[in-house]
Structure formats: structure tokens, C-alpha cells
């Protein structure tokens, strides 16, 4: 261990502290603590690797996927893993001819060459799928053409048109031009209900196909609503938890935590039992003659169902941070306010409530972020109009297999949350956050 006695008189530079044997104090300190620091680093290394591999890497991968889709440029054989560049000739033609120029015979000839390769690689389906993302109903155009490509003879233009008249559709060519580069912003455009027209300009999609902006809006609105509802319900419960004598508050705490010990699916399904039109609540209302049998209230498979079930499921995430903050607020503050002349309402509003704000902030942020990305509950009880954006992301991941669009939607969601987080930091301050 180096002797850390600082001696300014023997220091090399004025004001620079050194140890007794003349080493700079800062260096000596770093050397003395390096062992402990190294050990600490090795302790956190497994976690660091875990986070890198399971969290950072997938997110980077997702961000990349949202702007990169090689479906029209590269074919990867599933069996051998060999990668072959495809559609080279038509991509060259796109490079040589500017956007908007009509496809001439040379374009069709290039396309023919590419189709021969596609047929050989059996890759027409995947290329068709890629084009189908931007223009639905085109997948079969590619598979059909690839099957007959080897029988085509010049002039190719007529040959292609004979196979399918859609080959003369300028939109097909515009979409192929768009897909000819693996890197594209088109998925982000699609994620906000925009598309490119034949001239390559960004335009909104038809009203009947616009979907995502409305869904983002609904997700935002429902999440805010759920956050607000959990706050209204959690505040008195957390207050009781923090102020009741220990044996009652322990019991209450068990009730709060009980949902955590029950499977999410079980909780959601029990809401289905309660809320459906032949369910417990409707039966009770009908039995009590409060409503007619024909006019049973529809509380399930719509937004109401999503809101009710998610509010319940996310409630503990609001109660716990609130409770942990309220527990630290001494009752003496309210007493002091009362002794200074405040009514109990004023004491609550001016003294108690402002001190709970860090808890409210933490709870609201937690519930909101969880709600924005919630998937299972809306999928089960949401019906058609209770779906959230995450359900659509899941649809693109598992059903339409348009991973790039799913990644773009997820990235937008991520950016939205980061913006809200930033706003929260600006308005309330992130160091005010108290999670426990």
C-alpha cells in the first residue's frame, strides 16, 4: 500500500498533491483502489454480459431490421446457408434509368434473366413476399412468372404481359425500385400510414388501409387512461397501507401482492368470466332486474374489457411505489400544518400530496410504460377495438412475417417512450423518481 501522506512542499507542481515518495496523489489513489475496482468489475461482469446479449444486442438487431430488408437483393438458402445476390440485372436497370421512366424491353430482358436465377434458386416466393409487403396481392405474380420464365423468348415485354397484365402496372415497378436497396425507410413510412406513390413521393395510404396511426393514438390514450385509473384507485390504498397499524397493513399488503402470485392468464381469464355478456356481473344485474336480459352490457371484447382488466393487473405497480414514498412521510408534517391553521383538506393538498409526487411519478411512469407495451391482456379480452399496438407487432412477427414492419413499429414505440421519459425528466426530474 502506498503511503498516501500528502506533502505539498515536495510536490512537483505547485498545488499538485503527491505521496511521501513523490508519486502524484491521484495516481497513487487509483493504484490503491484498482484491485477493489477490478474485483467489483468481475462481480458485475456476468450481469453485464447477460444484459448485452439479451437486451442491448436484440434491440440493436431490431433497430437494424427496421431499416434493412434484403428480401429483394439477397437470397439465403435455408439448407446450405449460401447467400446469393439476386435481381442483379433489374437492379442495374433501375440504377441506369431514373425514377418514373417506363420499363422498356431492356428492363424486361433484365427481369427475365433474374427470374431464371430465381427459378433455379426457388426464391421467387420470398421475393414476391418482399414486394407483397409494399403492394398486397403481388406474391402470386412472382411465383407464377418464375414458373414460366424458362419458356419465355424475346420480346420479353409481351411475354411478361402475357403471363400477367400486372407487369405493365407502373406501381409494381415503383415498388420493385423501392425494394432494390436493402436499406430503406419504407417500413417506417408504412408504420405511420404513409407510402410512396409511383413517382416516389411520400403520400398517405388510402383511408380504409390507414391503421397504425390510429392504433398508436389508441394505445397512447388507453395507456394514459389506465395510468390515471390506477392512480385514482391506488392512492387511497397506498395511504391506508402506509398509515394503518402494522398487523392490518400486513394483511392489506398480502391482498395487494396476491395478484403477483397468480398467473397473468388466470387473472385475465377470471375477468373474462366476470365481464362477458353471459358472465357473473351481467347475470347479477339481470337477476337484480337492473337491466333487461336483451340489453346485457357488453364489457368484454372491446376497449372497456381491455381497460378494466389492465387497470387491475397494473394496479400493484402503482400502489407499491406510492406506498414506499408515503411510508416515509411522517404524520408530523400534517400535524404541523394543522397546528399552523390549515384545515385537513389544505394540509392534504399543500403538505401531504406534494410529498407523494415522486411516488406518483414513479408509479405513473411504470404503469404507463408497461401499459404501452402490453400484449396478452388486450389479445385475450380486447376483441377488435381493444387491441393495442403491441398486438399488431405480434401479428407481424408471427402471422404476416413482416419482421421489418414489426421492428419499425416497435422502434417507434421505443422512441415514443424515450421521448416521454425525457419529458418526465424535464418536467419532474428523474432523480425525483422513487421506486422503493
Amino acid at each position: 500500500m502506498a503511503d498516501l501522506t500528502a506533502d505539498i512542499a515536495t510536490g512537483s507542481a505547485p498545488g499538485r498533491l503527491t505521496t511521501a515518495d513523490g508519486k502524484p496523489l491521484k495516481a497513487a489513489l487509483a493504484a490503491a483502489e484498482s484491485h477493489a475496482r477490478r474485483r467489483a468489475f468481475f462481480l458485475v461482469l456476468p450481469l453485464l454480459l447477460f444484459v448485452l446479449i439479451t437486451f442491448i444486442f436484440p434491440i440493436v438487431q431490431m433497430l437494424h431490421q427496421s431499416i434493412y430488408n434484403p428480401g429483394f437483393t439477397l437470397h439465403r438458402d435455408v439448407g446450405t446457408g449460401v447467400k446469393t445476390p439476386i435481381m442483379i440485372n433489374v437492379r442495374n436497370w433501375f440504377d441506369e434509368n431514373e425514377r418514373g421512366s417506363d420499363p422498356d424491353e431492356s428492363a424486361y430482358a433484365a427481369l427475365h434473366k433474374d427470374f431464371l436465377l430465381l427459378d433455379e434458386l426457388r426464391a421467387a416466393g420470398s421475393v414476391g413476399t418482399r414486394i407483397n409487403y409494399d403492394m398486397s396481392g403481388t406474391r402470386s405474380l412472382f411465383t407464377k412468372t418464375a414458373r414460366r420464365a424458362d419458356k419465355l423468348t424475346p420480346p420479353f415485354q409481351e411475354g411478361f404481359l402475357a403471363i400477367d397484365k400486372d407487369w405493365s402496372d407502373p406501381e409494381v415497378w415503383a415498388v420493385m425500385r423501392g425494394a432494390s436497396s436493402a436499406y430503406t425507410a419504407n417500413f417506417y413510412l408504412a408504420a405511420v400510414d404513409l407510402t410512396r406513390d409511383v413517382k416516389g413521393d411520400v403520400v398517405s395510404v388510402d383511408d380504409n388501409r390507414a391503421l397504425y396511426v390510429k392504433l398508436f393514438g389508441r394505445t397512447l390514450f388507453l395507456s394514459l387512461l389506465i395510468t390515471f385509473l390506477t392512480f385514482i384507485l391506488a392512492f387511497p390504498v397506498a395511504h391506508l397501507l402506509a398509515t394503518l397499524p402494522l398487523r392490518y397493513s400486513n394483511l392489506l399488503m398480502i391482498f395487494v401482492l396476491l395478484p403477483f402470485w397468480t398467473s397473468l392468464l388466470v387473472r385475465t381469464t377470471s375477468w373474462m368470466v366476470l365481464l362477458q355478456s353471459q358472465g357473473v356481473i351481467n347475470d347479477a344485474l339481470v337477476a337484480g332486474s337492473l337491466i333487461e336480459d336483451e340489453s346485457r352490457i357488453q364489457m368484454m371484447y372491446n376497449q372497456t374489457g381491455t381497460v378494466i382488466a389492465m387497470t387491475h393487473i397494473l394496479l400493484p405497480f402503482m400502489i407499491l411505489p406510492l406506498y414506499s414514498v408515503m411510508r416515509t412521510i411522517k404524520p408530523v408534517y400534517v400535524r404541523a400544518a394543522r397546528s399552523l391553521g390549515a384545515t385537513s383538506w389544505t394540509a392534504f393538498r399543500r403538505i401531504y400530496f406534494p410529498q407523494t409526487v415522486p411516488g406518483i411519478g414513479a408509479g405513473a411512469l411504470l404503469v404507463f410504460i408497461l401499459a404501452v407495451g402490453y400484449y396478452i391482456t388486450p389479445a385475450l379480452v380486447g376483441g377488435a377495438d381493444g387491441q393495442l399496438i403491441s398486438n399488431l407487432i405480434a401479428f407481424h412477427m408471427t402471422n404476416s412475417l413482416n419482421w421489418s414492419l414489426a421492428a419499425a413499429l416497435a422502434s417507434l414505440l421505443l422512441v415514443g417512450i424515450l421521448i416521454l421519459y425525457w419529458l418526465y425528466d424535464r418536467l419532474i426530474g428523474i432523480d425525483n423518481l422513487k421506486l422503493g
Partner: protein, 367 residues
């Protein structure tokens, strides 16, 4: 300055007040207490003696189970705390952490709907009074304990209450600061002419600051008296033990007549004492003598003094005083305090000496 409330109308009055939290035991048993206007009264007692409960009932945070509490002649049992107009300083100051010092002080004025300019003048005046004039913009967490204490005091006074309650306000301060603050609180209270009810378990604090001290134990006032009377004439052995240091010798009353009780100590020695709460011969008693009233140098004693043999067990040098532990009449913890003066000998452990005291300093109390 009113020292005793006798004769004039009481400002604060507890009338047969009882308090129970669980319906089984009484925390406060039949409290009767009158406090005069402008008086500084301290409720002193060990923890659990009921003193804080009495204060909280006056503040309105606890309700009396039985009896009446009157403020300025008006019954206040059913008046909520915010309408009582009583200033209060809490144990850990209870400064609102989310407000600045100035906002803390303005709070009682705001809820009284005072306009802004008047508010600011009063806040500044109150802060100046406790020498914290330049701290208005700070947060409570940026202040030291002593500074927070001053602010808490200013906040309790800023709305000019005529009665201020203090619940162990100096408990969290270090010794030196506590002593400074004792005088400061006392001076401010005197200057403003407010009535103060002060709760503490620190007897030095009680003696230093109060006009009168009520010693609480077991839910009752054991003695209510001015500090000098309390110290010099404790009315029972609890008060004698609790206030200041005290030597106790146990024995039996032999006879009482002419204001003198002859007590036969358990060691067999006979001493004259002042009978305080012994009534007849044959009763067991505890004789109390203050350590500073015992003389270790027998040559300095008058002719009427008692003398006893004592063995020195321990001699402690404490700077301004010497503290000697002796074996006297069978007890091993008989303490004598002597002022450190050049002509005073330092005793050696093992030495046998004669000690003595005047019979009037020796009080026969309950056993």
C-alpha cells in the same frame, strides 16, 4: 412575569382530564393544571409518563377521554387543531421539506388569507428574530439541526399565537447548541410575552427555562413548583431522584417532633432529617441529600452538622468539580460533589474520612 397562576384567571386549564388509548389503562390520570398568561411551564417526566399526551390534548391531536381543557376561559375539547390558534414546535422540527424556509413561514399566514406584502414583512421579521434573516430561500435539508430548530420556532411564532407548545424541541441537538437554544427560546418567549408549554425529559433544560415545572410520572403530576423549590424541596423520592443528582439512605423513622424527624438508618446510625412525607414513628423512609450539600472536609462544618464515617471508593476529576464516590452507612454509591478550588484536597481511594451535612439539607421522603 407570572410565576404562579394563583389568584388570577388561568389562561390554560386542565380540569380533571383523563386519557386512555385502549379503554383499559389510563395514560393520564386526573390531571388538574392551571397555567397563567405569559407563563413558561415545563412538563417534565420520563418517557411514558403522559406528558406528551397532555400536550397533544392541548394541541388538539388527541381527545381527552374525560374532563375539560380550557383555553382563555373557553372549552376547547371539540375545537379542531387548526382553529385553536396554538403555535407548536415539534420534536424533529417538521419543516415542510418541499418548501423553502420562507414558504414554510408563510404557510400559516397564507391559510389565514393574509395578503402577500403583509405576509412577506411578517416572515422576514420572524426570521430576523431567530437570526435567520438571510436563509429564506433555502430548503430545510440545506440547514443544520440548530438552524432548522430556529426556523421551526419562527414558524410557530409567525402568526402571533398567544400560546406556543414545544414538544422536546431541542432533543436532537448537541449539548452546546442545546444550551444556547435554551436561553434563546427563553428570551424570545419573555420578549413576546407568550405563554409556553414545554415538554422535555431533560431536567436541566426544565430547570433552566421554566417559571414552573410539572413533574410527571405514571400519568400524574408528582410535583408542580418553581425550579428552585423543585430542586431544593422535592416532595417525594421520585422527584428527588429525577431532578438533579441525589443520594438516598434508607432507614426507619424513630420519632417526629418539632419539625425534625429522627431516622435510624439501616446501618444503625441515627440522623436528624426534615420530615416531608413521613407522618409517624416506625415508618420506613428514604432520606435524600444532594451531593453538593455534603462536606468532605469536617473542619468546615458548623457545630450542628451530622458527621458520618465514609470510605473513598473512587475519585473523579471533572474539571470544575471533583466527584467522589463513597461507601456511607452501607451504600456504595454515595456521591459527593466538591468545587475544584486550590485548598481542596484530592482524595485517594481507600482513604477513610469524615463527611457531614446540615440537618436541614436532609429530607425524609416516602420509602
Amino acid at each position: 412575569m407570572v410565576v404562579s397562576a394563583a389568584g388570577e384567571r388561568a389562561f390554560v386549564e386542565y380540569d380533571h382530564v383523563q386519557k386512555s388509548y385502549d379503554g383499559e389503562t389510563l395514560v393520564v390520570k386526573d390531571l388538574n393544571l392551571s397555567i397563567g398568561k405569559g407563563e413558561f411551564l415545563t412538563m417534565l417526566g420520563p418517557s411514558g409518563s403522559g406528558k406528551t399526551t397532555c400536550l397533544m390534548m392541548l394541541a388538539g391531536f388527541e381527545t381527552a377521554t374525560h374532563g375539560e381543557i380550557r383555553l382563555d376561559g373557553r372549552e376547547i375539547n371539540n375545537i379542531p387543531p387548526h382553529k385553536r390558534g396554538i403555535g407548536m414546535v415539534f420534536q424533529n422540527y417538521a419543516l415542510f421539506p418541499h418548501m423553502t424556509i420562507a414558504e414554510n413561514l408563510a404557510f400559516p399566514l397564507e391559510v389565514r388569507k393574509m395578503d402577500k406584502t403583509e405576509r412577506e414583512t411578517k416572515v422576514q421579521r420572524a426570521l430576523d428574530m431567530v437570526e435567520m434573516g438571510s436563509f429564506g430561500g433555502r430548503r430545510p435539508s440545506q440547514l443544520s439541526g440548530g438552524q432548522q430548530q430556529r426556523v421551526a420556532l419562527a414558524r410557530a411564532l409567525v402568526f402571533e399565537p398567544s400560546l406556543v407548545l414545544m414538544d422536546e424541541p431541542l432533543g436532537a441537538l448537541d449539548k452546546q447548541l442545546r444550551e444556547t437554544m435554551q436561553f434563546e427560546i427563553k428570551h424570545i418567549a419573555d420578549n413576546l410575552g407568550i405563554t409556553v408549554v414545554y415538554v422535555t425529559h431533560d431536567q436541566t433544560e426544565a430547570l433552566t427555562m421554566s417559571d414552573r415545572v410539572a413533574v410527571f410520572e405514571d400519568g400524574r403530576i408528582q410535583q408542580l413548583a418553581a425550579p428552585d423549590e423543585l430542586y431544593e424541596q422535592p416532595c417525594n423520592s421520585f422527584v428527588a431522584q429525577f431532578i438533579g443528582e441525589n443520594n438516598t439512605l434508607e432507614g426507619v423513622v424513630e420519632s417526629i417532633h418539632g419539625g425534625v424527624a429522627l431516622v435510624k438508618l439501616d446501618s444503625g446510625d441515627l440522623i436528624d432529617t426534615v420530615p416531608v412525607n413521613v407522618n409517624r414513628a416506625g415508618e420506613r423512609t428514604r432520606v435524600s441529600i444532594r451531593p453538593e450539600r455534603v462536606e468532605t472536609d469536617a473542619t468546615r462544618l458548623g457545630p450542628d452538622a451530622h458527621t458520618l464515617k465514609a470510605e473513598v471508593l473512587e475519585f473523579i476529576y471533572m474539571g470544575d468539580t471533583f466527584r467522589t464516590r463513597l461507601r456511607v452507612a452501607g451504600t456504595d454509591d454515595f456521591i459527593v460533589k466538591t468545587r475544584n478550588a486550590p485548598d481542596r484536597a484530592r482524595l485517594q481511594p481507600g482513604q477513610t474520612i469524615d463527611i457531614g451535612w446540615m440537618p436541614e439539607d436532609c429530607r425524609a421522603l416516602d420509602a
